[in-house]
Amino acid sequence: MTVTAQQRGIARCTTCGKLSRITTTSQAQSWHCTRCAAPLSFRQPRSLQRSWAYTLAAAFLMIPANILPILTVISFGKGDPDTIMSGVVKLWQADLQAIAAIVFIASIAVPVIKLMIIIILILAVQLHLPLSKQQCTVLYRFIHFIGRWSMLDLFMISILVTLVHLGNIATVESGPAATAFAAVVVLTLFAANSFDPRLLWDLDND
């Protein structure tokens, strides 16, 4: 028989980890942690709604991020705009398969997989899907671990625009997709942080 903290009226502070006893008798009353003064609740408030909002916004911005050029190499006055995917293809064709794979994983695979996993997790809670809680929790930890690696392409842009700034010979300019992609990365990070994994385990308790 497993007992959760919520069943005993105990809330874990998400900021400092301290346990406190709170009651839900009056809605207007708000509880605060005695150790760090952060607001207390049993579960992250409106976790699923916020996750949905960030996920849908990120999914929508994936379109401009992948269609528009992200990087333009101007060599002797001749511009050569690249989208994320065409950049990967060019690296591959230049026999730089390892780097092409890294960029592909960081810029395309990670954001897509991350959004898919978040949607699966939200649906698992909302539709009571019969998925293994252990495996869902592993997926949740996985998206937290890989999320930050999507920043790779953006860091590379900031390195290249500064490094290759050689007047007439060659310059590198960032394209409109860079801002869209930055927004995708930030929104997916927010989406992952908004999801409360305890909601998955609550399905077992009802």
């Binding site: 959760t4 809680k133 929790t137 490094l163 060659a170």
Partner: protein, 207 residues
């Protein structure tokens, strides 16, 4: 605003699945894991507790050279180019990529700096046993900054940029990269050996 009432010692709740557990002091000698979802519940209490402070101070010393020295150098048909962390942010801002510039400023500069600075401040105040009113704010800010500090991803970005530019020009690693590697090591040590729960307990038992 109501302050929640205390609960007895020896109870732990899993952050990932909310399982309520009874623990004894002897359990805390080793790392603790949740029996239901395998989350890490606490870290082993480490006797060599000065590593976090030492790493944070070393990181701060390396910070300015790592940010301002050139990271890569490029030679294309006799024209020389170089980049630094700070230079990358300035360049993007000048090219009107303001959102991108701010994000990169946060993840590669501001967050690592604040992470090291706050760890130093917290470490010193714990060792002096003097806890200022802002101690909880420092701790909260440290956790937030740590989550946005992405220098390890930046290091991978350097490798990708290096390989990408090998073909069209002559690219070489410059002094900033070595400082950055040192800084990265300090940040990793600093994150590994700093335990928030312990810092919160010091704050709670201050008086």
């Amino acid at each position: 605003m109501t302050n929640a009432s205390q609960i007895p010692k020896g109870l732990t709740a899993c952050p990932d699945c909310d399982l309520l557990l009874h623990t004894s002091d002897s359990d805390h000698r080793q790392e603790g894991h949740c029996p239901r979802c395998a989350a890490t519940l606490w870290h082993a209490s480490n006797p060599s507790a000065d590593i976090d402070l030492a790493a944070a101070v070393s990181g701060l010393l390396l910070f300015i050279p790592a940010m301002s020295l050139p990271i890569l150098k490029l030679d294309m048909v006799g024209q020389l180019g170089s980049n630094s962390l700070l230079g990358g942010v300035v360049r993007l801002w000048l090219e009107n990529e303001h959102l991108l510039a701010v994000l990169i400023l946060l993840c590669s500069l501001l967050a690592p700096l604040m992470h090291l600075l706050l760890t130093t401040m917290i470490g010193i105040s714990i060792r002096l046993k003097r806890y200022p009113r802002y101690f909880p704010a420092w701790l909260k800010c440290k956790v937030w900054m740590q989550s946005w500090s992405m220098l390890e991803v930046y290091a991978m970005g350097i490798i990708v940029a290096y390989v990408k530019m090998m073909d069209p020009g002559e690219v070489s690693v410059a002094s900033g990269t070595y400082c950055l590697v040192g800084l990265l090591l300090c940040i990793i040590l600093c994150s590994q050996y700093f335990h928030e729960e312990q810092a919160w307990q010091y704050w709670e038992q201050r008086s």
